[in-house]
């Protein structure tokens, strides 16, 4: 039986892609912290990951060369606007401290996903070597 990478890697692959996307969303917020009228946006990570890997209706696969349908939604998920704690007079809703901590947290989560993936690959390598 061949190794099924999608099953073996779990949802860490999707999580990694989402975290990379979230990093760029948060970086736009940080960069626009001085732009008048800019509204901070973020990705609802939990909800999007659930959509990409959860019990969504999967597409019918009738041939082994069909691509799996999940993972496609991770890129099309819409960014959502933040509810500002303290909106400034120029219409900017970026809370720089919050965005920075979210960015740092996201970076750690990204590294965690990487670590998990590395572990999965190591496990597969061990299984292949059979010693």
């Amino acid at each position: 039986m061949p190794i099924n990478f999608d099953k073996a890697l779990g949802n860490h692959e999707q999580a990694l892609m989402l975290q990379a996307r979230r990093a760029s969303a948060l970086s736009s917020n940080i960069v626009n912290s001085d732009t008048p009228g800019y509204k901070a946006r973020d990705l609802d990570f939990k909800a999007v990951l659930k959509n990409t890997t959860g019990d969504m209706l999967a597409m019918n696969v009738t041939s082994s060369s069909h691509m799996p349908s999940f993972g496609m939604d991770s890129m099309s998920a819409q960014l959502k606007y933040r509810i500002p704690n303290q909106p400034s007079l120029d219409g900017n809703t970026v809370d720089i401290d919050m965005e920075k901590s979210a960015y740092a947290e996201n970076a750690v989560r990204y590294q965690t996903s990487l670590r998990f993936l590395t572990g999965k690959f190591k496990g597969m390598m061990n299984a292949l070597r059979e010693n």
């Binding site: 970086s27 736009s28 912290s33 960014l79 690959f121």
Partner: protein
């Protein structure tokens, strides 16, 4: 890969903030300019930031920042009676620039902090990408 976007975004931010620092230094350097004529007097300049939207396939993506224009402050220049000043007009008055040193200092600190934020962000993204390259090792 969307982590590459972070470099573009942070780069746009650094460029915008350095423009802001440039206008601050220009304002500070000219803060003591005087003139006998109100019209050829140096006026405080301020950059106006705007978001650069990248819409790919109808979806709004991550967005950088850019300087759309440099605006001159339209605050009235202060007039002073200094008949002995060589720049004074026939009435003996000189006009001084409308640069507010306090405002400029605050602006400078804000710009340099924002610049640092952008550099830090770029460094983090770089570390993440290097870690990704090592995946599976």
């Amino acid at each position: 890969m969307s982590l590459f976007n972070v470099f573009d975004i942070a780069g746009s931010g650094m460029s915008a903030q350095s423009t802001r620092l440039n206008t601050v230094s220009s304002n500070m350097a000219n803060s003591n300019n005087v003139s006998g004529n109100k019209d050829d007097l140096y006026r405080a300049k301020n950059p106006v930031f705007a978001t650069v939207m990248h819409d790919i396939a109808g979806r709004s993506q991550a967005s950088g920042v850019r300087v759309v224009r440099i605006e001159e402050s339209n605050q009235e220049a202060t007039m002073r009676y200094e008949p002995n000043n060589p720049m004074a007009n026939e009435m003996g008055y000189i006009y001084q620039t409308n640069v507010n040193a306090m405002e400029e200092m605050a602006n400078m600190i804000s710009a340099s902090r924002s610049y640092q934020n952008n550099v830090e962000m770029m460094n983090t993204a770089k570390q993440l990408m290097l870690a990704t390259l090592k995946l599976g090792e």
